[in-house]
């Protein structure tokens, strides 16, 4: 009975059930259209981005190949030779513990009188010592590898 009354109810001459069905169909159509449009736009964006990624990937591969060429051992060898670099000699390869002995040996070879102390020369000597310590292989274990 309740079901029958739902089917019989009218508004302005139109059955409620017909109006409801019409509205539902419109809503469904609009929803599908909206989602398709939205998804289509996003899909197009995704394709664009993936194409860009593909292009960049190819460019990256080309750049990696160029880097490999620039870093090839024979090129590094030529460049190193051109600026006067040489392999580390046996007397240049020491441990940190051996540094005092190296300093002592050098001092024995070339005794030098200590200059008159002044602030400028003290600072310069301190800077030179720091620089030498920073550059020596003992200070940088990686440099000895």
């Amino acid at each position: 009975m309740i079901l029958a009354s739902i089917f019989k109810r009218r508004v302005r001459g139109f059955r409620v059930i017909d109006l409801t069905a019409f509205v539902v169909v419109l809503a469904l159509a609009f929803t599908v259209y909206a989602f398709k449009t939205f998804a289509g736009r996003e899909g197009a964006n995704i394709v664009d981005v993936e194409n860009q990624i593909g292009v960049e990937d190819k460019r990256v591969r080309l750049l990696r190949a160029e880097v490999a060429t620039l870093e090839s051992p024979d090129r590094m060898e030529r460049l190193a030779g051109a600026i006067g670099l040489k392999p580390v000699g046996v007397d240049q390869d020491v441990t940190a513990e051996a540094l005092p002995q190296v300093a002592t040996a050098k001092r024995k070879l070339q005794p030098v009188e200590a200059p008159a102390p002044d602030a400028a020369s003290n600072q310069a000597a301190s800077n030179a010592t720091d620089d030498a310590a920073a550059l020596s292989p003992a200070a940088d274990p990686e440099a000895r590898r």
């Binding site: 089917f7 069905a21 539902v24 169909v25 469904l28 159509a29 929803t31 599908v32 989602f35 398709k36 939205f38 998804a39 289509g40 996003e42 899909g43 197009a44 995704i46 394709v47 993936e50 194409n51 593909g54 190819k58 591969r61 080309l62 990696r64 190949a65 160029e66 880097v67 490999a68 060429t69 870093e71 090839s72 051992p73 024979d74 590094m76 060898e77 392999p87 580390v88 046996v90 390869d93 000895r144 590898r145």
Partner: protein, 586 residues
């Protein structure tokens, strides 16, 4: 109710039930009219049809919405097949690129779109001199779009594109690029335009490189070591105008090949136009009579079989006379005529080695040399690994001759594979171009000599560098051991004394535990020419040993070998305690 016949279903009562239902629906109008409410039937039918269509529309709408939201947009890219000739990157053990696919471009010409053909012809030939003019003329005179030239870099393509020539189009090609040029050319190998490996690692690992979704394939090669090895081999080859040359660096503990070089090298990017003879990987694909380097195996055999110790005396005062053959020593003065085995090694006495071989006998030689892999092709991923040339049987003469490295020809790769077993504690395992992961155990091998024999051989190698023929390979602090080899080559079935195969096999560091990382470096020059500096000689000691020493000096820091300068170690004179030759593990 009017009975309108019956739905006769001879098969079952179910059929009759379905039939009654259908007829009940069909006769609903008559029933409605009979009850005086004909319009109810029509509304019912209309409602049913509406509901059916409505349900169908809802289902289709939901399906379309689901497809729009959850489909793989841009799935064309995912499902697109990779280029048929695509290959994964080949890298060294530290990830440095050895071979990589890059995008190149092919140029196509469509004569239908060109009105001013002479202008286009001139512009193309000027921009791309590699184009054959006759081929271009034929295409321009044709009636369809044709390929003109390929392998254009993106920059070259852009240059042609900027000319704005009519009828010119481009298509992507995947090309294999070898950015290092000649560095590692023989071990890396090359692939065809179709993406098939032809030689070297490209061929050895072809299946892996062509596999779908594969990442870079790391080799055991260390590019830094390869560069140093190849540079020194090139320098030695050029200095002595050698016909050919070989260089190898291997880790005897893991079996990894860190460097493999052939001289002269070539550019794999130009493999199509390179002389095939230059592209032969001599380390694996060429066999040589090794000469005195073979004494490493002879002594290992004799000591391990228990027929001799480093102090066993051998009579070398006069040539060894055999039926149809007399064996001489190169060095005449050997202090009295009776040499302990260790001095047979350091003097490189052929007579002493031959006597040791005869003492051990053909049975021991067959067993040990086969165990060292000297009688078969080196087991390797490289397809180029070639079989040795062997005598038909081990007669007395053959045993004596093979003991000092003649009567057998084998590849340097096979030699070094066997040497690895001598110096790693006695385990024979194939050398590999696969990089072992950190902590990964090496491939299982087979024990061929005792660890004590291995220790003795390491000490003998060191003694040969400090007090023997290998002095020129010594580098202060790296405890280098080594053995020289100078084999006269056979030309037209006769030994030609003007043509040598001069080699040096080094191992460092010779001290430390047997299961520590230790490296064999082999340098060999095929037919070197004498120079003023070598006094007119082309022995392994003079032409190959110095190159091996330079390689060790350059690569030892890269491999993490600590430099230990012993008191009195001035390069070649670090003393070796004779007691250390007992073979006891330290």
């Amino acid at each position: 109710m009017t009975t309108v016949g019956s739905f006769h279903n001879p098969l079952s009562p179910f059929g009759r039930w379905v039939g009654r239902g259908l007829w009940w629906i069909e006769h609903a109008f008559e029933r409605a009219r009979a009850s005086g409410r004909a319009e109810d039937d029509t509304r019912l039918r209309i409602f049913c049809v509406l509901a059916l269509f409505g349900a169908g529309f809802v289902v289709l709408g939901l399906g379309a919405t689901r497809a729009a939201l959850f489909s793989h947009a841009g799935g064309g890219a995912e499902f697109a097949q990779p280029a048929a000739n695509a290959r994964a990157d080949l890298v060294d053990r530290n990830g440095q690129i050895l071979a990589v696919d890059v995008i190149h471009w092919g140029v196509y010409v469509d004569p239908h779109e060109i009105t001013r053909k002479p202008m286009v012809r001139e512009a193309l030939l000027e921009a791309l001199p590699a184009i054959a003019p006759a081929k271009l003329d034929k295409i321009l005179a044709g009636d369809h779009r044709e390929f003109v030239i390929g392998d254009l870099t993106p920059e070259a393509r852009q240059h042609i594109h900027d000319l704005a020539l009519p009828g010119i189009s481009f298509e992507e090609e995947t090309a294999r690029d070898y950015p290092l040029g000649p560095i590692g050319a023989h071990v890396i190998g090359f692939a065809s335009k179709d993406g098939v490996g032809i030689a070297g690692a490209e061929r050895a690992f072809d299946g892996v490189l062509r596999g779908e979704g594969g990442g870079p394939a790391p080799l055991s090669i260390d590019l830094r070591v390869q560069g140093a090895l190849q540079d020194e081999l090139q320098r030695a080859g050029d200095m002595f105008h050698a016909h050919g040359g070989v260089g190898l660096v291997v880790n005897v503990r893991t079996g990894e090949i860190l460097g493999m070089a052939s001289y002269p090298s070539f550019d794999p990017n130009a493999a199509a136009t390179t002389d095939p003879a230059v592209m032969v990987n001599h380390a694996a694909a060429t066999v040589y009579e090794p000469g005195s380097v073979m004494k490493i195996f002879t002594l290992a055999m004799g000591i391990d079989a228990g027929v001799a110790t480093p102090d066993t005396l051998f009579d070398v005062h006069s040539p060894l006379v055999l039926p149809g053959q007399t064996i001489h020593d190169f060095e005449a003065d050997k202090g009295g005529g009776m040499l302990p085995l260790k001095e047979v090694f350091t003097h490189s006495s052929n007579i002493g080695a031959a006597r040791l071989g005869l003492l051990a006998g053909a049975g021991n030689m067959e067993h040990y040399f086969r165990s060292f892999g000297l009688f078969s092709a080196a087991p390797s991923e490289l397809r180029e690994s070639t079989h040795p040339i062997l005598p038909r049987k081990l007669s007395q003469n053959i045993v004596a001759t093979m003991a000092f490295g003649h009567a057998i020809s084998l590849s340097p790769l096979a030699m070094v594979t066997g040497m690895s077993a001598v110096f790693n504690g006695g385990t024979y395992r194939p050398l590999t171009l696969h990089r072992l992961a950190p902590g990964q155990a090496p491939a299982p091998g087979r024990q061929v000599i005792q660890p004590s024999t291995s220790r003795t051989m390491l000490n003998l190698m060191r003694l040969n560098v400090t007090d023997g023929t290998g002095r020129k390979a010594d580098i202060v602090g790296y405890r280098v051991g080594g053995k020289t080899g100078t084999a006269t080559k056979v030309v037209n079935h006769r030994y030609d004394v003007t043509k040598n195969y001069a080699s040096f096999a080094a191992v460092f560091p010779t001290d430390g535990p047997l299961n520590a990382d230790r490296y064999v470096v082999m340098i060999a020059l095929d037919e070197p020419h004498p120079t003023k500096e070598t006094g007119g000689f082309t022995t392994g000691a003079l032409v190959s040993a110095p190159a091996a020493g330079r390689v060790i000096e350059r690569i030892a820091p890269l491999l993490g070998v600590q430099r230990i300068v012993l008191p009195g170690d001035t390069g070649g004179k670090a003393p070796v305690d004779p007691a250390s030759l007992s073979g006891e593990e330290r």
